[in-house]
Symmetry: C2
Subunit: 280 residues, 2 copies
């Protein structure tokens, strides 16, 4: 779908990028709402939105597509007011990177046939509007998960990502999505933090860490509350993935304790060969 | 020291960079030796060395400082011929990133008073001469470890790194060095591989990994045989660090299994706060 009026709630890096790109792509009216006045002013000045909405209700009542671009807890809270004020034929989506509980909550709020979840798989450098970039989703993978039995809303939302944002949407079941992103996005985040947490707790003091330490631990810099909420939202799948990490760690510890050069080389080679397939 | 004749054995990325920088810094004669003819030709063409030595003995007999820039196993094998042919007053160093067994071997070969170990803490993109850059060591941390009771050779070698290569040398005991780099360099390497190895063994197939996965696992691309040898050389310290990683992983698993938001937030915050101190 190409909405005549797009409503974006939350004008941080993700919401700001969606709104800005829609404005540049010729969506006639882009309404924005944010509880943070400075963020709203920045979005208006940049030309990312046509108008700042005075309330969630004002925005929802006027939009053909409402994008909830706020953290998980705020997303859950917005389902009831969106369900109450969304006009007939209009749709809603969100951007939370864990989807099963999100689509459940949307269904429970009565949005089942008017909602599809989205998860744009992008990593923006900053969380605020300063980090917004209209091109953020170009050729980016965006997961879209149906909330009801009918996947027509998911197809419309996927079409919005493709035609307005130049993204590459993939429609899949919310539970399948969560099992996949536990590995592809949440596990890398916690492994980065695992290195940092271990060094913080037990590493030597006053020493200089090398370039690899900076690189491997960089995702640990991401907002802690966002990571906490996401990991809890997707905890069954993340716990399962961490069990596999524990097994893999055990294999490495055994190879080193036994000074088993062949086993150690196999372990490292399996890792290197997987990583080569991910290039660059 | 500023040698009149510098001899560099091994003209890959590290050896090539040392030789090239010494040539640019005005060292009158830079001899290179490599068993790989193509590497030697590339080094001569680039002007990285004045002359290609026909043999290790030829190079060692003529050098004021010999830099062994070869993998660990080859480094151990070179101590005997270097000890035999090094002229009075000349010194030798190496670049293996684990030092205790290296300085022991140098002492056993009779090089105790003519050797100090070096570990330039740089990450070069490629291992071959194509990856050599004269500026590779500028402002880089280089550990220098004495091999005997007298630390005069270590001071001379540190001075070479500082004045010829613009590096920032730090002299410390080989055992202390190994305990530190187990954390600062070897652990990040294996944690990157831990993510890659886990995804390879147990992750979903045919899915797209996000930008965090690429970043966190990138050091797993480093040469497997080099990593294997280093980890074995420094295995006591690496095994100890991995025990701490296991404990840290256990804390995360507990917080997630118990859905303990406060404990999870503390765990993530400790990681983030350590990483912020490492910026950029």
């Amino acid at each position: 779908m190409r909405p005549d009026t797009l409503g974006v709630i939350g004008l941080g890096a993700v919401g700001g990028s969606v709104a800005w790109q829609a404005s540049l792509a010729g969506v006639p009216r882009v309404l924005g709402f944010t509880p943070r006045p400075a963020e709203g002013v920045a979005a208006v000045r940049a030309g990312a939105i046509s108008d700042l909405a005075p309330s969630v209700r004002f925005l929802v009542e006027r939009s053909d597509l409402v994008v909830l671009a706020v953290p998980p807890a705020a997303t859950f809270e917005l389902f009831a007011p969106v369900a109450r004020h969304l006009r007939p034929g209009a749709l809603c989506t969100d951007v939370v990177p864990a989807k099963e509980r999100i689509v459940q909550a949307a269904r429970q709020a009565g949005l089942g046939e008017r909602f599809a979840g989205s998860h744009p798989a992008v990593a923006l450098a900053r969380a605020t509007f300063d980090g917004a970039e209209p091109a953020a989703f170009r050729r980016a993978l965006v997961y879209v998960t149906p909330a009801g039995d009918d996947d027509a809303p998911a197809r419309e939302v996927a079409d919005f990502w493709a035609t307005v944002c130049d993204a590459e949407p993939v429609i899949l079941d919310a539970a399948d999505h969560d099992a996949i992103v536990a590995w592809t996005r949440h596990l890398p985040r916690v492994v980065a933090a695992l290195l940092a947490r271990s060094c913080s707790a037990d590493g030597p003091r006053g020493v200089t860490y090398g370039p690899e330490a900076r690189e491997v631990s960089r995702p640990a810099l991401g907002p802690v509350e966002v990571a906490r909420d996401l990991l809890l939202l997707n905890r069954d799948a993340v716990v399962a993935a961490l069990d596999d990490v524990e097994t893999s760690l055990g294999g490495l510890q055994r190879a080193l304790r036994d000074a088993d050069a062949a086993a150690l080389e196999d372990w490292l080679e399996e890792a290197a060969s997987w990583r080569r397939r991910l290039e660059p």
